[in-house]
Symmetry: C2
Subunit: 602 residues, 2 copies
């Protein structure tokens, strides 16, 4: 094999793989994988989002799925490369119902090339392709058609009937970025969908946050499906600009978006196999009867506001960070911000900039990742102007990102944060001098692993850390607020801080609180904890799950789905959730392999 | 030379060209061009839009411009090709003030390779590049900046001050597609601009037209700058969908768009070198004092409604096609449509589809170009899904299109329409049988030359011709309406047609009617006729101009500009108009070469 090109090696492996699959020779398949191996599947083999870890898991999955998936037509796509002894290749394939795109990492072993990682993803369902490119509609309907309706008449008719005289197939609760992106994909796939949003306008979930907020992720990471941001879009977009983009996007994608609408109750009728979802729109109760119900309410639940003795006696303003109106009204006053993650830092900086005397209360350690370092060390290879120039647009970047199994992802990240410690040693040193408690995650794997495991515990530094380090933003760490007095707070170390404003930057609860309230506690418990990998690190109890709990895949509650995540995840995983919903809408069999058990309730 | 590759030949020619230019050896330059040769310049050498036809014209232009343009850094871009003895190459170059992109067609002559056509275009002004790609702004303004304003605050401040306490540099009269695209480019270039539009919402100029209207040009031809349509956009987009796109685009591009605003009067103050433009906004008169005034009111003027004796006695509805509300109200009634171009055909078809008895009155011959044939024979090579697959996106297509000199453009088109005559012989035969008067332009060069020369005289057939051919839409040709009676019209051949509705699909007047009304008849006369090439064909009197009259380039009225055209032209030429305006805004010298004389008033 040693003289073979990467293209020959990849092509040869795929041929042997296809042959072994066609012969249902699972032993041969297993031996095409290295002893340490991972096969991550996004919907194409498992109708699930599932990583098979090791040969046994792969064999088990195939014995269940192979006979109906019938994979075929494996062909290398693009030019395979080799680096550090690993051959890297993209490939296309087909199943009985779909076309797929895959990624392969090969290592030379004593028995020839073996797969270290394999990613298989579903691209489109055969016969139900999006009508894009050459398949796009004509629009003008050339020729003459007595009685034909115009595009506008049809849109108005749909708005007047869907949810009233015609039932949607899918109802999405939550019209933030996640709900909007999923709805855009379902629209393209022709799945009748309604999005329920309590705010007045698409984008309000961004607009209503603190006024200095800009995205903490860079533009290359943030594109929505189908309509990329223009090439002058700021690296870190201001919240209102994102809000306007989401609003226009919702309109242009022709999403059936019920704004100013509140979801009040949902129940599942087992006999009919449909949901009954009561919503209030324009002051009237309407009952929707969709087959599928999607919760797209972000990755977290209600705002956490700690119960602190004396809070009711406070004479100033107190509110959760999600309700913080911005600093203007507090110029010359004294503020206490409880918490030390993203929102806490941004709010402290904006208060200080506006002449507020502000103290941050840090209860537990925080991971600080300077934005520039994060861009250069962690994201730049996949999501940057340079990556785009290297031919890695966000579609490709998403797949490369998805190709790294969660089980070993931290090993890819630890060196990045080792480098960050060096690069930003000065800032870290001065933060510690100021008393700030730093961490890099339980195993030093930094920001993104924290995000996946627990969704909290970090600040992407865009400037506030300097204010903490130099004392402009005052810091009290290793303490909590013990009680609240009319004009001050008393900390657990006995200090009393005068305060005109208290901001609770104390995060959010678990998402299945929403499910409990809207559906029932029983359904919430059936679904169980949402998010986290089971890594057995802080706030992410084991056992190991291998994938994010309950996200974008079948849950233990029939026809209930959870969608969310940051812009990158919402973009990428809405593809797979929309295909799962479309398959069910069209009555395509979707035998799910390896549905996750529930180990934790919230 | 015969063994040299196309790349070597192009590179060699460019080197010799650059050397001769650097030495100001105009004889040597002239001999690098073939005896029949064309150098079309879009703003980069001439600060004008101008085609030099022949060696003498080229020499004359260079003797005027070379010393200050100082062109340099000519380098081949991409891979030159050869076909039918012509080498085709793209190249980059620079001038003292700008970076440019060019296109070259070489022919082997007895004195070596010589240029047959040369196109030079300005891409960006040095030091005033758009902040895109790597130059994009950060947005989040990392670090802390006491007193900084958010994006939203700055936008609101701009809306509140521009036109009131701060004067715009440029005012664009007309907020249709042309005004919007130009404003988007000026926004990127940082030229303070206000768009004046009498309608309520961006896109209304499309929305308010007859309801069955879809674009007659395909999607690949219609993209706006910076934000291409999604890949599922219909081939021929319905008017309301385009309207919504324009509305969102205006918002997302952060254009200062004054809707529901009427321009009432404009005068030029020679002493101050600025315009005074009186507009009515929200019921109040406001005087704007821009340096530059752009008319972007389409390529034509007011609706032409012929004065026909007895019109005032008509008891039914009568209106110009631009005011036609759609067919619904006329079911079961009798309609007469005067005219036989695009609008007439579309309106006749929609009326017939809705059960109206409709007669088309054809006064003079019409060019019919079936949409499918037009796509395949004329546009497909540059603007189609296949072209995109071949690497020709709309940016490249626009430049290829621009590289063909107007002087010889008809010779490229005549064979296309010869092929169309063959391909659609059956339809053409049956139309003639039905009495329809057909033409293919004075010289058989078809649709696009008619559009450039006179802006009228054709129908892109999307189905109505079949209705005319088979008699569903009744036809009276070689006649006019001689008088209108209370319930009928009398034709010039004496026929009386009962009528409940008369639609005047009789086109539009000249655009400088608007200039005469808004500024003064003197200014309108100074500017002269707009559009047309001086081809000495029907409705396009000579002398030969070589470019469209007054479009996108300096006019004889200082600081007055005209912008417009179809979506393709508005997209492409807004680039060059915006660069001309930006250069003036920044005080960069812009010595105009070869300003066109005025030969016709309208």
């Amino acid at each position: 094999m040693s003289n073979a090109t990467p293209a020959q090696r990849a092509s040869d492996w795929l041929q042997r793989f296809e042959k072994a699959l066609a012969a249902a020779d699972l032993k041969a398949v297993a031996h095409l994988f290295a002893p340490e191996c991972y096969w991550r599947d996004l919907v194409s083999f498992t109708w699930n989002i599932k990583t098979q870890e090791g040969r046994d898991a792969i064999t088990d999955m195939l014995s269940s799925q192979l006979s109906h998936v019938k994979p075929s037509h494996f062909t290398v796509s693009g030019e395979p490369t080799e680096a550090d002894g690993i051959v890297d290749a993209w490939f296309n394939f087909e199943t009985t119902t779909a076309r797929g795109l895959g990624h392969l990492r090969l290592k030379a072993g004593d028995q020839g090339d073996q797969a270290w990682t394999l990613l298989t993803t579903m691209v489109e369902l055969k016969g139900f392709e999006e009508r894009k490119g050459e398949r796009r509609i004509k629009g003008a309907e050339h020729g003459v058609h007595p009685g034909r309706k115009t595009w506008l008449e049809l849109r108005k008719e749909e708005e007047a009937t869907l949810g009233y005289t015609k039932q949607p197939d899918t109802v999405i609760i939550g019209g933030g970025q996640g709900g909007i992106m999923l709805a855009a994909r379902l629209r393209r796939l022709g799945v009748p969908t309604i999005v329920i949003e309590r705010n007045e306008r698409p984008g309000d979930s961004w607009r209503k946050r603190y006024k200095s907020l800009c995205l903490h992720d860079p533009v290359w990471y943030d594109h929505l499906p189908y309509m990329p941001f223009p090439d002058d879009w700021p690296v870190f977009a201001p919240k209102d600009k994102i809000g306007d983009w989401l609003e226009s996007y919702t309109k242009l994608m022709e999403i059936n978006y019920w704004s100013s609408t509140t979801a009040k109750h949902a129940s599942f009728d087992e006999a009919k196999g449909e949901w009954s979802v009561t919503v209030e729109r324009d002051g009237k109760e309407i009952v929707l009867r969709p087959k599928q119900l999607v919760f797209a309410l972000g990755v977290s639940g209600y705002a956490n506001v700690p119960k602190i003795p004396g809070a009711e006696t406070f004479l100033g303003d107190q509110h959760h960070s999600s309700k913080h109106p911005g600093p203007e009204a507090y110029k010359g006053k004294k503020a206490v911000v409880l918490g030390s993650n993203n929102s806490a830092h941004d709010i402290c900086a904006a208060l200080w900039e506006n002449g507020v005397d502000v103290t941050m209360i840090q209860r537990t350690s925080t991971h600080i990742a300077p934005s520039d370092s994060l861009m250069e060390l962690a994201l730049g290879g996949l999501y940057s102007e340079q990556a785009v120039k290297n031919g890695i647009d966000h579609h490709k970047a998403d797949l490369i990102f998805a190709s790294v199994p969660y089980k070993i992802m931290h090993t890819f990240h630890i060196p990045v944060y080792e480098a960050m410690k060096q690069r930003d040693a000065d800032l870290y040193g001065r933060l510690e001098q100021a008393g700030f408690m730093l961490d890099f995650g339980d195993d030093g794997s930094g920001l993104f692993m924290k995000y996946l495991r627990r969704g909290s515990g970090y600040y992407i530094d865009v400037g506030a850390s300097e204010l903490v380090a130099n004392g402009s933003v005052k810091l009290k760490s290793k303490v909590n607020i013990e009680r609240i007095n009319p004009k001050s707070v008393t900390l657990s170390d006995g200090t009393e801080l005068p305060a005109d404003l208290i901001v609770y930057a104390t995060g959010y609860g678990s998402m299945n609180q929403f499910i409990a309230d809207l559906a029932s506690p029983e359904i919430a418990d059936r679904v169980g904890k949402v998010w986290g990998l089971g890594s057995d690190t802080t706030k992410d109890p084991g056992p190991w799950e291998g994938e994010l709990r309950n996200m974008w895949k079948p849950t233990q509650q029939q026809q209930l789905w959870i969608h969310g995540g940051n812009l990158h995840q919402s973009r990428h995983y809405s593809q797979f959730l929309s295909l799962q919903l479309k398959a069910r809408y069209e009555g395509i069999p979707t035998p799910v392999y390896g549905q996750a058990d529930v180990h934790h309730l919230r």
